[in-house]
Subunit: 284 residues, 2 copies
């Protein structure tokens, strides 16, 4: 069993679950916190539980009527079978078949792909014996599907870290993982990070950086530039954002900075100012 | 295709890859950074690349001779077939079969499990056309296996965030994900977090918290306590670590705190001090 001590490091990854199917066993408080993380990913959710926590009904009652498939009874081993709709044969591919397809046919197949297994299984019930049973059966049935059993961090092939939200609920996720060494310490760090960056203008900064990047991608600039513009643009963006630093990117004067880029790299009529002069002269 | 805009949120998870198999296509600078993340997880690595970056040879040359399987040529679609050793039939399970097994037999099967697919596929080559081809073929062949194609964040079902290391290379991982909105902003945040917590004694703090937790788990304490000790222990640990806060947990006087726990919750001869008094009187 993937029973691993905390000296073996975990690998942190961010998952796109759009269109994929996630199984949640249980409808209590833990299932509620899982839903908070899963619903924004726009995955398909199957939830199996005889009862639902009032908070689930309050926040996700409408979704459960329309989008979340809720089976209102105790979970059974047979429920591990994911009955995929559509034609599974679409997924059967060989190198020869692949090479014989046109680019359009490949794209079409990729767009109509059937995810024929759970992409994630979350056991959120308050019964260690049953949890272990579901874990063992699930692991034997599909060894590669990531499982999480609440309250059993050492057993889980995937686990949730403490997630600090920087810049509010729609801001940047910052997942803190202590590899199971000290969850309380991760919780303190989470709280401290959220407090420290309370004033950080995440939305404003990200928008400004994106705007500047898009301005420098304009066709007229790319055309006038001799050679490969990508590394030069990246270097410029790094220089500018490093100069403004984390707390001042919302002040970027994108129009003036676009002009600076043209003057320095296309017209060669100017040179890059020192970081402190950049902040002083190219802020809004 | 799982082509998702940045308004759909990713789900951050930490993966245990111990005993699982990861495919890396490419042997350049990106592959090197992936190895830095993967080797500490003790996963099995298959690396396919005609050449290896000098840094890979320097840092992982010995591992490549012994543990990392290196195929020294260009990657081919056929290389997507993972030839698993051992008996795949071990993985075939049904509810009836499962129920007929003894607990020992179940444990044995779980321990001898065959991970019959890649657990993660990382395409790290500098050729957008080939990358797309490998992505499409891989996605069609095994839709549920997480793939990452470097330089194509929007295409990847899993992606790497900027990871701040707090407390040095063996410390706590802090993965920052902007959902692709502003990688430069995530990079600034990473740098700032590493700087801010430079002085944080992660190892000392985690060790002290673990020591205290273990002291409170001693049989003689559990026996003397009337009722379910778990929530009380958790409440006490939260109260103590909150009082000491992130920057002072390395000062916990575990022996005195153990005595306090006994006095308050077992002997009922004392009460919990206010947070500031706790820090003043229970520090080393």
């Amino acid at each position: 069993m993937a029973f691993v001590d905390s000296n073996v490091f975990g690998l942190s990854l961010s998952h796109r679950l759009f269109n994929k199917t996630v199984l949640i066993v249980g409808g209590g408080e833990v299932a509620y916190t899982r839903l908070q993380k899963l619903v924004p990913t726009k995955c398909k959710i199957h939830l199996v539980s005889p009862k639902l926590h009032p908070k689930i009904i309050e926040d996700y009652g409408e979704l459960i009527k329309s989008k979340i498939l809720h089976t209102q009874r105790n979970f059974d081993l047979e429920d591990f079978d994911l009955n995929t709709e559509g034609n599974n044969n679409l997924n059967v591919i060989t190198p020869d078949l692949f090479e014989s397809l046109s680019p359009e046919e490949i794209t079409e197949r990729c767009e109509n792909i059937t995810f024929d297994e759970w992409s994630l299984v979350l056991i959120c019930i308050d019964d260690p014996g049953l949890s272990l049973k579901f874990y063992q059966y699930g692991t034997l049935k599909f060894p590669n599907v990531p499982l999480n059993i609440c309250d059993k961090p050492k057993l889980c092939p995937v686990y949730f870290g403490a997630v600090a939200k920087i810049g509010g609920p729609n801001g940047i996720d910052c997942m803190i993982s202590s590899n199971g060494k000290a969850p309380r310490f991760a919780a303190l760090l989470k709280k401290d990070i959220e407090k420290r960056y309370l004033e950080l203008d995440v939305e404003g900064s990200c928008n400004k950086i994106e705007t500047l990047r898009n301005l420098l991608k304009k066709e007229e600039i790319v055309e006038k530039f001799k050679g490969n513009i990508i590394p030069v643009r990246m270097k410029f963006l790094i220089y500018v954002t490093d100069a403004f630093d984390l707390f001042n990117c919302q002040k970027l004067d994108c129009i003036k900075l676009e002009k600076l880029f043209i003057d320095v790299y296309i017209n060669k009529s100017d040179e890059l100012p020192l970081p402190k002069d950049l902040v002083q002269n190219f802020s809004i």
